[in-house]
Symmetry: C2
Subunit: 478 residues, 2 copies
Amino acid sequence: MFNNRVKISQLLTWEPAQQEVTVMGWVRTFRNNQFIALNDGSTNTNLQVVVELGKFDEALLKRITTSAALKIRGVVIPSLGKGQKLEVKADSIEILGDSDPEKYPLQPKKHSLEFLRDIAHLRFRTNTFASVFRIRHSLAFAVHKFFHERGFLYLHTPIVTASDAEGAGEMFRVTTLPFDNPPRNEDGSINFKEDFFGRSTNLTVSGQLEGELGATALGEIYTFGPTFRAENSNTTRHLAEFWMIEPEMAFCDLEDNMNLAEAFIKYIIRYAMEHNKEDIEFLASRLAEEEKQLPADKRSEMGLVEKLEFVVNNDFERITYTEAIDILLQSTPYKKKKFQYEVKWGVDMQSEHERYLVEKHFKKPVIVTNYPKEFKAFYMRLNDDNKTVAAMDILAPGIGEIVGGSQREERLSVLEARMKEMNIPAEELWWYLDTRRFGTVPHAGFGLGFERMVQFVTGMGNIRDVIAFPRAPKTAEF
Amino acid sequence: MFNNRVKISQLLTWEPAQQEVTVMGWVRTFRNNQFIALNDGSTNTNLQVVVELGKFDEALLKRITTSAALKIRGVVIPSLGKGQKLEVKADSIEILGDSDPEKYPLQPKKHSLEFLRDIAHLRFRTNTFASVFRIRHSLAFAVHKFFHERGFLYLHTPIVTASDAEGAGEMFRVTTLPFDNPPRNEDGSINFKEDFFGRSTNLTVSGQLEGELGATALGEIYTFGPTFRAENSNTTRHLAEFWMIEPEMAFCDLEDNMNLAEAFIKYIIRYAMEHNKEDIEFLASRLAEEEKQLPADKRSEMGLVEKLEFVVNNDFERITYTEAIDILLQSTPYKKKKFQYEVKWGVDMQSEHERYLVEKHFKKPVIVTNYPKEFKAFYMRLNDDNKTVAAMDILAPGIGEIVGGSQREERLSVLEARMKEMNIPAEELWWYLDTRRFGTVPHAGFGLGFERMVQFVTGMGNIRDVIAFPRAPKTAEF
């Protein structure tokens, strides 16, 4: 057994009383041949290890360089230094792994986020990314905890699929056929019957349709898995591979759906605020520092912590699409022709419009409901006006759309008519329609892009900095 | 707001005292125009709803058929029937969705598992599959809880990858290139620089290598995500898409790894036993019923519940590969030439050998360690004998290999030599080798196939019956 260490995050909660202890970690700094700042990934607060002068070989001390891995036995004593309650006086120091300071890419100085993206395999070793990934963990755990406590079942919907759930965008093909001489039908088209799955298959863009199958039997389910978009978007808000959470509830209408989504978002943010206080505060000061570089009018009105507290403690605004358009038509930027895109009932809102509503007009998260059916998916429930559907989007400050959901069309004949209108092949979705044939129920659900939520809570500006190894156009390293 | 129902699983814990209540669910049976057995997916125990004679329209009563969806308001009263404490006397009955009994594929009779696989979108509505998926949820939640409590971070490793972690098997290509006239290099080969990710990419077979990057900075991480094998295996134990859990721990050797894996397996089984008692007992009797059809010598010695209790309450056996081979060479089936495959030091064990060790010799889970390096992956730590590696496989009764793990080779020069021996291209894995260059540490990890664990706990014989929508050769429906 090798692992008899105490994690530094735990050790830092002890009362120092000469306890013998073993710690292991990586050197952040080594000052005056006397003070090792040791980090093991459990917290950004380094453990101070005191090396008595003359007690250890010079040859050993020379190897205590940034990022060298050490195993240290010692005793826990009160610290005289400020800002720390305790330190460890070393009795023995073992070098587990050297690190050549000339070659180590992460120098103890500030690196740009772009540079760190190129060495994503090492960026976990910085305070910024260690905080981001500890918060990401907490948010993920809170997702499971929230739904588990409410009796939702975690359903693993398929990643490889033959159906395009929403017509939601371009898809990645999954295949074992060779590009050279692929099998062909008589008419020259590719014979996908010869492909691994006996048909043409893609990476899923959403688990929703399968989620509905689960909900209309098990009651309430949620998914939390990877989804994919083969869109050539090189923005700070898009990934080709991202994780999505999709709850789906039987016996549920649009209002229930909004209530759940709002409670859910508040719950997971609150969980991270309670369990990752230190990390959030670290990222808040990082962000404040970053914003100092910006002109005054580009800076956020609220710091990260205030923003999160504000979201958690205030009701989300709820308005219809029609009301949203009215507000935009009355707005100063509209009147001054500052909007780039058209504002008109029946036309989808663009990011600039959503930002105006959220960041300028309401200054809080906004749930927009009842969009025109023309630009929403076939499965959304048609409202009695025959023009709008029971959709809801949640827009968050600085992030934009973070949730998209709807009550689902449970009426077979209405659904079939919509599918026909929109050229969705009913025969491919026979199984989906079966849920409307046999004991259909009002039901609803939504999807939350997990990385956007992590961005929101960490304040990181680029979505590629909140997932371990981002996948984007021309980007699949590691 | 539509959802003011009480879930049946909750309602059944109440003391009946004339409480007014709304319940919603699907009809399982309707006896004598008087007793509705209602199910909402929260439990297999149906709620009995009593319909007073003459109180409701005949036309309404006719629509109360198997699988029709109902909303019922009524009062909770003590039940006179046996086996149930309470029932609901209906004040109002609303048909949410009809179900034509002539067309509904799930009749109230026993269906074969094969038939149910063809209607996987409806099989959640059977007791067997509702139990399986409630248990699957509990196991998944227990996975997160176990690691969270120990300070492991949940890391989402990439699904689309350019690297083949283990050379572990055939892979699915992920591409947006067209089969007709794909871009080609001058030499006629396909120009994958034109593909979406700017290179040739596949679906991951394991998140381990990326997991190691996380662990050697954050300390302890785990993954829980989908993995893929493009193998043409039509067995009861293989899927093309399955979920895997892969913890990875810095400062950890093989023994620590075994201790963690054993504690982990016991924890999640115990969690399901405590939280899904009713479901496990239901599946236990289902299995006992099924086994009655078998000849006496093919039946299990233990029932499902006893088997789980036995695993949870006993230490796993720990033996080396060398000891395992010795036991096999001394065994009756070997001496009577009953083994189909060769038994010899240096040759990998086959399923028949593993089953003998687990089911006949030790009659409990067995951890086999220190396999010959020849048939193990390049990243496993070379033992001092230069012949074996610090690998461990956990073999479980009835399932076979459920965990594969190892201490990782942390010594750069040894690792590089092994990679050269095995033709693993070092330049593609530069980032992996960096962790050995800069502060390398002893570390270890393992992978657990989640579906096999669900099989073990539910007693389901076919792995396609423990995942919602199985993916296998020629199988990608739903």
